[in-house]
């Protein structure tokens, strides 16, 4: 067990922006929410999966919506404080631990806004090892875990309790609700036991976010390239370096969707790249050829400072390196690719691991 202080929170915030793979929502907003909770209720312990008893009750806490929305319609503490006890009211179960559904983006830290007032620990794990735009795209789905019973709470005073036939139905209903509500809400979902959590989840996901954040921070101090430092420490691949020429972005159907087009710099002079995003960057197309797709992580970082730039913030003129990081092994299976690979998002193409050279 360890205690997360504000410095650790800052590293997690920076690293979770990289793990957000372009989406996941602005972790700065999440950091403010978590910091506020910690200041009001005291520090939050973080435990490894091994420290969780098999018979413990665990639930994911996550915000759902569009990253381009939550920087305006800011999340509120009230929803994160209430969401778990509302799930308990319906299920009659008391939850002993909360866990991030996704370590990418603001959901790496939203569970702290629930854990702090409740005085319970956060588990150092997640269901993605990154961020994904659909709530069924979590590792528990691969092993028969169910998204429901779950609870959805928005800032307008609406609460929804769901029991669905499949996790895809849970996504469909929750997405319809979040769209109706204005694309930002809090959820408690995927109730599971400690035993299940140990089998299903991506271990050490918060530590991974913190490590990436620290890697960037230390590279900046050492005057070395933060982009290269991240590539090296995470076995990543440089996909492109270029200047943003055009951004086509809209908040649509409950997501932030669109493309960013880049023209090449330096070694990539004369070449182009298009990033396709649906909250997260899902495919990277270089000179018209798709060279990286989900579930591998595709992320833009400012070339010099290594500042990770989410899809909702990428702007004309930014000079970015586009990097690819390998997805967690849970995803690089037939079932994993079926659930989160390119065809799942409507791209007529096969998944190709990012480290394989382009033909």
């Amino acid at each position: 067990m360890r205690i997360i202080d504000e410095a650790a929170l800052n590293d997690i915030t920076l690293g979770s922006t990289v793990l957000g793979a372009g989406g996941g929502g602005d972790p700065y907003v999440g950091m403010l929410l978590a910091r506020d909770a910690i200041r009001r209720f005291g520090p939050v312990p973080v435990v490894s999966l091994d420290e969780v008893p098999d018979d413990a009750n665990v639930a994911f806490i996550a915000g759902i919506g569009a990253p381009g929305v939550l920087i305006e319609k800011l999340p509120r503490a009230a929803e994160y404080e209430r969401v778990l006890q509302t799930l308990e009211r319906f299920t009659g179960v008391t939850y002993d631990f909360v866990c991030p559904a996704e370590a990418g983006g603001l959901n790496a830290v939203t569970p702290f806004a629930t854990a702090a007032p409740r005085g319970i620990p956060v588990i150092d794990a997640d269901g993605m090892g990154r961020a994904f735009p659909h709530l069924e795209m979590v590792t528990p789905t691969l092993y028969g875990g169910t998204a429901t019973p779950c609870v959805f709470i928005d800032e307008h005073g609406n609460t929804m309790y769901l029991e669905t036939a499949t996790n895809s139905w849970a996504e469909a209903f929750a997405r319809a609700a979040v769209l109706a509500s204005g694309a930002n809400a809090a959820m408690a979902l995927y109730p599971m036991t400690g035993e299940q959590a140990k089998k299903w989840l991506v271990r050490g996901a918060l530590t991974m976010a913190q490590d990436i954040g620290r890697t960037i921070r230390e590279a900046r101090v050492a005057k070395t390239s933060p982009v290269h430092a991240v590539l090296e420490s995470q076995s990543g691949v440089l996909l492109f370096a270029g200047k943003v020429e055009e951004v086509d972005r809209r908040n649509e159907r409950g997501w932030t969707m669109g493309t960013a087009t880049l023209s090449g710099l330096d070694a990539y002079h004369g070449r182009t790249m298009t990033l396709h995003f649906q909250n997260e960057n899902l495919a990277a197309e270089r000179d018209g050829v798709v060279i990286a797709t989900s579930p591998d992580l595709i992320m833009a970082m400012e070339i010099d400072s290594g500042e990770p730039i989410p899809a909702e913030e990428i702007r004309y003129g930014y000079r970015v390196a586009v990097i690819g990081l390998p997805a967690d092994p849970h995803w690089r299976t037939e079932a994993g690719i079926a659930l989160s690979g390119p065809r799942r998002f409507g791209y007529d193409m096969d998944y190709r691991p990012i480290e394989e050279p382009v033909a």
Binding site: Y28, V29, L32, L33, D36, A66, G68, V69, I71, E72, K73, L74, P75, R76, A77, A78, E155, H156, G182, A183, A222, K223, T224, S225, E246, V247, D248, R250, N251, E252, E302, D304, S305, E307, I309, E313, R315, Y316, G317, Y318
Partner: protein, 530 residues
């Protein structure tokens, strides 16, 4: 002959240069005065000894007055921040501000129902009664400046407009700065900039009155243009309402000036003023810009501005008796009465540097008996601070040249540990040179209905229009370029085919011969930055 005048109004000095093309015809430095006007007038009088006022085609002014005010939390007015959202909010206005600024500008904020959803439909009905109550509380607090923000006012400003009307009805005579006019998407960052703008309005009014009077008294009848954050210029009328758009012009001007004076296009630029030191990176002749979140003296914004590290060090920075404490207080423009070398009673960085052998100023004998330990201790603190900032500004551990400009620049020559600095001739007036080379901008900021066109076609149309506007404002056609382009789909309008396009083009003013009329046009057509 068409000459341009560049003026830089700093916290300590007011500099003026007369330029014929890139040639510095005349340059002067005089102390910034409390009323601003007389300092500018004396600088102008000085440079106009060499040329006729009628030869001047345009006066370009840059000022760090406003960022200094924020950095020192001085001259700021208290602000009432009103946010239209869903109450109660957790991430409140000024949530991540430095305490010393919040103490002066804030803690008066109010959240009322209002705002828009992402698609422009109402988030909450604006509650008129609640707003009139808020107005009553603002009246009781005595605050005269309101910063009004609203969720997704970038998509639909109706909540802000309605609230503005109600607040002004209740509180005639107050000012209201609306966030939709100040910033882009990102409520906290836009609201921060809006609050700072409101806090600066009175100061801006006084400063701009001063600029106008000074130029008029000097006999110059040419357009006056003020540098803004993105390196283009705006009119004084606009600057009165949106001083926040000038907030980062100092670094832009000093870095552009450093490049123009040295011919070096890639360097770390250290600008030492009277109060603060700005360190930034010059890439290909232009300042490196911030990406996502940029801090304005500790306040997060999403303005597109030079990535500059500012810290409290300048010629007027106050030093403790043992030399161990350097700043952050500065005697500012009172240096010529306060500093020891000028017969004052306050130990400043200028005194330390002169005692250590820097270019003399005032009466060096007045610091002759300063204890060598004090001098050594102060120089060590200064050296460590500058080296740290230069290292931080550099992106790679290489031999990037370091150019030092600004009135206090030559003082650094005596600081141990700072070797191989490039200190150009006229280093002291680099900001004024940079200001004179501010660019002409052209902006398109409006809603387009697609009407069967693709958004790419509409964007191209807007880009061409922005370029034409920049050229009309004086930019040389062969160098004008698009510096920013953004479109926000407005799904609540026009059957889903409306899009809010913001495009900005900029380019250097054409040769002076051509700018006489063009600069006049620019005063009418250039608009907001960022």
């Amino acid at each position: 002959m068409a000459l341009r005048i560049g003026i830089d109004v700093g916290g300590t000095n007011t500099d003026a240069v007369v330029l014929d093309g890139r040639r510095v015809v005349a340059a002067t430095k005089s102390p910034t005065t409390e009323d601003v006007t007389s300092g500018i007038l004396s600088a102008l009088t000085e440079v106009l000894r060499e040329v006729e006022p009628s030869q001047v085609s345009a006066v370009f002014i840059g000022t760090t007055h406003f960022i200094n005010a924020i950095a020192q939390a001085r001259g700021l007015e208290p602000v009432a921040a009103v946010r239209l959202a869903t109450p109660p909010q957790s991430l409140l206005p000024m949530i991540d501000w430095p305490d010393h600024l919040r103490d002066i500008v804030g803690d008066h904020f109010y959240v009322c129902p209002g705002g828009a959803q992402f698609d422009g439909t109402p988030l909450n009905v604006v509650d008129e009664t609640a707003l009139r109550d808020v107005a009553e509380r603002i009246r009781e607090s005595g605050r005269r400046h309101i910063a009004l923000s609203s969720v997704f006012s970038t998509v639909n400003p109706e909540s802000e407009l309605l609230a503005e009307r109600i607040l002004l009805e209740e509180l005639p005579g107050v000012t209201v700065t609306r966030s939709a006019l100040v910033g882009r998407v990102g409520l906290l960052e836009r609201e921060n900039a809006t609050i700072l703008n409101a806090a600066l309005l009175e100061l801006a009014g006084r400063v701009i009155d001063g600029l106008e009077q000074a130029v008029a008294s000097s006999g110059i009848h040419a357009p006056i243009l003020l540098s803004q954050n993105d390196g283009t210029v705006m009119t004084l009328e606009r600057a009165r309402l949106f001083p926040i758009f000038t907030i980062a012009s100092g670094p832009t001007n000093s870095m552009r000036g450093a490049a123009l004076l040295t011919g070096i296009d890639d360097a770390v630029v250290v600008d030492v003023g009277g109060t603060t030191c700005d360190v930034g990176l010059l890439q290909r002749g232009f300042p490196r810009e911030s990406t996502v979140a940029m801090s304005l003296a500790g306040v997060r914004s999403n303005f597109r501005i030079p990535d500059v590290l500012s810290f409290a060090l300048g010629g007027g920075t106050m030093i403790s008796g043992d030399g161990g404490t350097v700043g952050p207080e500065s005697v500012g423009f009172r240096i010529t009465e306060k500093a020891l070398v000028f017969g004052g009673d306050t130990l400043t960085f200028s005194d330390i540097a002169v005692a250590a052998g820097a270019t003399p100023m005032g009466d060096p004998t007045l610091v002759a008996d300063l204890s060598p330990e004090t001098v050594k201790a102060a120089l060590a603190v200064v050296g460590a601070r500058v080296v740290h900032a230069v290292e931080k500004a550099k992106l790679r551990a290489d031999d990037t040249p370091v150019i030092v400009v600004g009135g206090g620049g030559p003082l650094l020559a005596v600081v141990p540990g700072l070797e191989a600095l490039v200190i150009p001739e006229n280093a002291g007036v680099a900001n004024a040179v940079g200001a004179a080379f501010a660019e002409a901008g052209g902006e398109v900021d409006r809603v387009f209905n697609l009407e069967g066109r693709t958004r790419v076609e509409v964007l191209d149309l807007a880009k061409a229009e922005a370029i034409a506007k920049a050229v009309e404002a004086g930019a040389a056609p062969d160098t004008v370029r698009i510096v920013d382009a953004e479109d926000v789909p407005l799904t609540h309008l026009g059957g889903g085919s409306a899009v809010h396009v913001r495009v900005k083009a900029a380019g250097p003013f054409a040769r002076p011969a051509a700018t006489t009329s063009a600069a006049t046009t620019s005063a009418a057509t250039t608009s907001e930055g960022n």
